[in-house]
């Protein structure tokens, strides 16, 4: 199922941002690895290693979320991959990583709660929540217990921007924007 491209809207409102890359389509592991290498190659030309690693880390967690949890799935080789959008932008403050994909209403609920929770915690509280969540024993595929989400919040400048757009009665477009400060 197709839904309107939101890349256009993102570009229009981010006039002071320069696009490093933008992808719309099926997010495979190979794609994530390649875009990750693009980040390492390109950013290391003009920024320090610590910031490159931070942008890389936030990007990987965000991209994995789209691959694993986008409600719009494509199947090949007995594996499923989610469809969505991944955009990396640079502005005078730092780097913005934007992802968007389709979600169901129960995913919307989970993501709203999670983002509300992490956006109301300070660094120390986020650290405690991360460590506590990681110590939970079950390695359920079941949504990684939101560990990645907490990691994104910890490594990026808060708050995370989370938006939902109604697609119809059942589905929403979820959009996440994380900022990594520094130049």
């Amino acid at each position: 199922m197709a839904y309107p491209l939101h890349i256009k809207a993102i570009f229009a409102e981010e006039s002071d941002s320069e696009i490093i890359f933008a992808f719309n389509g099926v997010i495979t592991q190979d794609l994530i690895v390649s875009l990750g290498e693009t980040i390492r190659c390109e950013l290391s030309l003009y920024t320090n290693c610590k910031l490159v690693n931070r942008v890389f880390a936030v990007f990987i967690e965000i991209a994995q979320n789209v691959m694993h949890y986008s409600d719009e799935k494509f199947y090949f080789d007995d594996k499923s991959y989610g469809k969505g959008q991944l955009i990396l932008m640079k502005n005078p403050m730092g780097y913005e990583i934007v992802a968007s994909n389709r979600v169901t209403s129960s995913q919307k609920k989970f993501l709203s709660e999670r983002s509300h929770l992490v956006n109301n915690l300070n660094c120390e509280e986020l650290k405690d929540l991360y460590i506590k969540t990681r110590r939970q024993k079950e390695i359920d595929s079941a949504k990684g217990a939101g560990l990645g989400f907490i990691d994104i919040a910890r490594k990026s400048g808060l708050p995370l921007e989370v938006e939902f757009e109604d697609l119809n009665d059942f589905y929403y477009i979820y959009r996440l924007k994380a900022m990594v400060n520094g130049t």
Binding site: Q29, E37, K50, N53, A57, I60, M67, R134, I139, G144
Partner: protein, 124 residues
Amino acid sequence: MKSLTIESTRCTPEILFDPGKGIYSISGSSYPENSFEFYKPIIEWVDSFVKNNQNEVELNVQMKYFDSTSSKFLIMIFEKFEIFHRKGNQVIINWLYDEEDLDDLENAEELFIGIKVPYRFIRK
């Protein structure tokens, strides 16, 4: 015991566990497509090693990057070596870190919270 060798890929680390040669090493990047699938044989190997062997172990860990899910599995591996240590074997985990990136060191320090195994951080 048979050694375990897994070659690295762009998103999975190299694993060398060779009791015959006394080599225990994990190095590279870790953000597998399916972490459970990747780490399952490694956890099983370490589990069997810990139960059936007596040895000195020096585990070298040198990670370029590990995602949040991989960190869970690294902790599981360290916890296995904690048991091994508790059984009276000499164990040390060497975590090699990049001095240019102290985030890396901070991430590593958090992995050892609550784990009672000797470890040290070594600047590359």
